[in-house]
């Protein structure tokens, strides 16, 4: 078994010894610093050295070779983190099996997606590039730092982030597999059965390999390796606590169901995504999970998403649920600060509470809360400078830094930010549905006949 785990570990971060990504140094002077975890500091400097926030204070100075940015009258907040995104991906769904835990979004990252730059222009420095929601157990996700400008997909990987995986409940998996292909799951009960069966099979798989490893240790062992199955191996890793589940969900009953399943299998690392009915099971979410990642005010795009409220984030938050607001869209990712501000209108959250929804809270949900998500000495230098308070409707991001390197500057914004240009096309294909949720991308072929039944948003 160990060998397999090494193989998987090698597979997931096979290139850690390769070239380092850029780390920058910058001194931001005289800003109003919204630390998120430590209140608001007026007239304060932040020194980032080699990609890490070295000092926060007043009257800081840096070496001659460090760029200084005068942020008098401006606001600095931690880089915004989106816990549910599909930008920079060539493919979103391997929708052909109810469980596809073997697939990995790191294989299909597209560093040329201008969506990364647009996200930076909206202050978003980290996105969680997720598999879609077609399958009960989808693929493994990858956490990206928006180091736009590289040709190498791996430069975008946040390699220190833990592994995560997509799950999905409700209408999407039952529609794709049950109605689309006439296999399990056809109902919510079927979704539960698929997940339970998956974990039970994983336990058997784990035992098979443990027995084999044991037998291999004997002298002159003639042990035969069991069939290798990265699908089941990934489920074993979930059971072993090495992977955080991010589960697409809407209804309270199915959220409660998965909490019960996780309890039974001893799984503690689970975040629920969308969670429109989360307010009904807030105490349960607070007690047992790594929280909920929700929309500010988006619903009614299919039957299971009607029972919704814009107070959801505030209710969850006030009930002790670790809560974040996500985009699930290449458009919303450009103004998550607006989305966070909506919780002040609907629920009266404080500035720090609202900002936490798009910074430290999603960071914790991705298992990177000790590295990013707030402005603290020792954390990574992911920062955004705004002209106004980011929760103001007038706020416009001015500069965005990742690891102390400036990747966006509103004064240096070019007409054409593409990294790669098609050698023959004057007008490259534009995806007019960019603002739609991409959770159900790559599924068209499944619905050619039944399309009229499902002619609505798919997220």
């Amino acid at each position: 078994m160990k060998k397999i785990i090494y193989a998987i570990a090698a597979l997931m971060c096979w290139n850690t010894v390769n070239a380092q990504t850029d780390k920058g140094s910058v001194l931001i002077k005289n800003a109003t610093v919204l630390t998120v975890t430590n209140g608001t500091l007026e007239d304060t400097d932040i020194l980032v050295e080699n990609g890490v926030i070295r000092r926060i204070g007043q009257g800081l100075s840096a070496g001659n070779n460090v760029t200084t940015v005068d942020a008098s009258g401006k606001y600095v907040m931690p880089g915004i983190i989106d816990a549910h995104s599909h930008i920079a991906l060539d493919v979103v769904n391997e929708a052909t099996s109810p469980i596809t835990s073997e697939v990995w979004m790191g294989d299909v990252v597209d560093p040329y997606d201008v969506g990364i730059y647009r996200a930076l222009a909206g202050g978003t420095t980290i996105s969680h590039a997720m598999h879609g929601s077609a399958n009960a157990i989808g693929g493994q996700n990858v956490t990206l730092k928006h180091r736009f400008g590289t040709h190498d997909p791996e430069d975008l990987f946040m390699k220190e982030a833990p592994r995560t995986i997509k799950f999905a409940l409700g209408e999407n998996p039952t529609r794709v597999h049950g109605r689309g292909n006439n296999i399990q799951p056809r109902t919510r009960m079927g979704v539960e059965a698929v997940i339970r069966n998956g974990f039970n099979e994983a336990l058997q798989y784990k035992k098979r390999w443990a027995d084999y490893e044991q037998a291999s240790k004997q002298r002159n062992s003639k042990a035969i390796a069991p069939k290798y199955d990265s699908r089941l191996q990934t489920l074993v890793d979930i059971l072993d606590g090495d992977i955080i589940i991010h589960c697409h969900s809407y209804r309270a009953d199915e959220i409660y169901m998965l909490i019960q399943v996780c309890k039974e299998f001893g799984i503690k690392n689970i975040v629920f995504s969308h969670v429109n009915e989360g307010f009904k099971v807030a105490p349960e979410l607070a007690e047992y999970t790594m929280g909920a990642s929700v929309f500010a005010d988006w619903w009614a795009y299919k039957f299971e998403v009607y029972y919704s409220t814009a107070f959801n984030a505030a209710i969850l938050n006030q009930n002790g649920v670790l809560t974040s607001i996500n985009s699930d869209s290449g458009e919303l990712i450009r103004h998550l600060y607006h989305e966070a501000a909506k919780t002040q209108r609907y629920g009266g959250l404080t500035d720090d509470e609202a900002l936490a929804l798009i910074t430290i809270n999603p960071a914790k949900q991705l298992g990177i809360g000790d590295m990013v998500g707030s402005i603290e000495e020792g954390k990574q230098g992911d920062l955004v400078i705004f002209d106004n308070h980011p929760l103001s409707v007038y706020a416009i991001p001015q500069m965005t830094f990742v690891d102390g390197v400036k990747y966006f500057d509103i004064n240096e914004d070019k007409d054409d930010q593409r990294l790669k240009v098609n050698p023959t096309e004057l007008v490259e294909p534009i995806f007019l549905k960019e603002h739609d949720h991409k959770c159900m991308h790559d599924l068209d072929f499944l619905f050619t006949e039944a399309e009229h039944l499902f002619n609505f948003h798919n997220h």
Binding site: A7, A10, L11, W14, D90, V91, N93, E94, A95, T96, S97, P98, T100, E102, V103, W104, M105, D107, V108, D110, H131, G139, H151, D152, P153, H177, N181, I183, K222, I224, A225, K227, Y228, D229, S230, R231, D415, D416, R418, K420, V421, N422, P423, T424, E425, L426, D442, F445, L446
Partner: protein, 560 residues
Amino acid sequence: MSNIYKLRLILGLLVLVGFLQVSPVKAQSDASGEKRVTGTFAITNATVFTSPGQSQQNTTIIIKNGLIDAIGPNVSIPSNAHRIAGDSLYVYPGFIDGGSSAGVSRPKDVEKPSNFNASSPPDEVAGITPYRNVLDYFDANSNQINDWRKAGFTMGQLIPEGGMLPGKTAIVVYGHKSSSNIYKENAALVATFKGSRGMYPATILGVMAKFRDLYKNSEYTSQHANLFASNPGIRRPEKNKTLEAFYGSHDGSTPIVFAVEDDLTTRRAIRLQEELGFKLILNGVSGAYPIIPQIKDSQAAVLLTLDLPEDKSSKMEDSESDDERKARIERIKEAYQARLAEAAKFHEAGIPFGFTSQGAKVGDVRKNIRLMIENGLSEEAALAALTINAAKILGIDNYAGTLEKGKLANMVIATDSIFKEDSQIKHVFADGHMFDYETTEKKKSNGNGEPADLEGRWEYSAQSPQGDSQGLLVFRKDGEDYRGEITLDNPAGSGQITSELKNISVDGSSLRFEFNIDAGGNNITFNVSGDISGNEFDGNLVVADFGSFPMRATKQPETK
């Protein structure tokens, strides 16, 4: 009548009958009349490029038994040799195609079983057929082979068609139809990132994961099989032809030819190689110049595509007032130029690449190579890519790739230095067989700037296995460009239909255009390319997946 007389009469009749039977024109032992008079050739007094950068003048080459028997300035010419006066001719090693679809057909789709489940389809249905042998789907007499031979190619690695793991390649010589022409079977395993529509694995996500699982399980089952073979008391290994097809890849004896498109797919293939440790040949590399250092580090063999993007940017009008549009066109031009210069970049980086013809049109190949040369690739490096580099990548360099005594008699003989626009291929030797091609004088004068006059009505005839097809081509001048249409027999019934010509381009004497027709709901694209000489057009009509057919046209006098 005496018995003796009778006997003589019968004998006489027999002789007479026998004589009648064999007499008509043909030689006695060759009823077809196709047997050649001699297999020994002497090309005398030619300029010979024995290998890239190595040329010698006034050289004679003797070909015997399909091999180069002698090469040098003072070799004696056997009396039975067919002499070819090479005084003004240039001789090169025959080109080698690192990845070819010529003559290869797509296997029939396998029928889905009645209990078909899209989440776990049988390998064969899901495009996972690494055990297939491309030769089972290969037609050596295909027109496509003739076309590529005419363009100078004498050997190629045949790539099977299919899904994610279509099968194994073979290396063949484009020789005479009387031979099987096979040099190496199961030379390499082919892999692609093609998903299987509507079933697992449907996307690159699934293909990458499936590939890893198959490869790792093939290692385990191979260990199991070895254990079983040498020990009692081992449970029987389950036979699995998919996994067995990978066995040769574990020790590097069977490389994996990965079909790639751009830098991202190239990276994906390299990622799998680094994780799993197989020997990798990148097939169809294009637009990957930003990652040349990574490709070099991987030590993967590189087959660059012979296809180049069309030059569309030079035809885009940049309006004076629209700076944004201007800047955009400028970037397209840069991207186009970068693609033209890509081969030169690989050469500068010290990567000994070969070429793959997959995805390229035979009519464009020499033009594309000239474009690469105009954009920085040396002629020496271009010739190396076409010959010895490809031979090394395919592991056939001990008998092909250069002109040396003892190597295969594969060569291209041209009227001038092969990379000059006016140079024409006069003979191709493949496997010691000579193929002759018509050369024309007019082409030269036409190539010197005088563009062919296209405007008017042309009567064409195209040959196809179903018989000849005749019709009319009409070209009209439209500013700098041409417009036009073709009439042809309605494939769906009686009468004739007309289709608009697209992408008409005239470059010196060469003409290319496309048109589409609708055949039973399928939109089929026809590509036509060839040369105009005066009022005659001589070229080919290529239909993807169907083949290439000769097409000729004659311009009709103006009627007022």
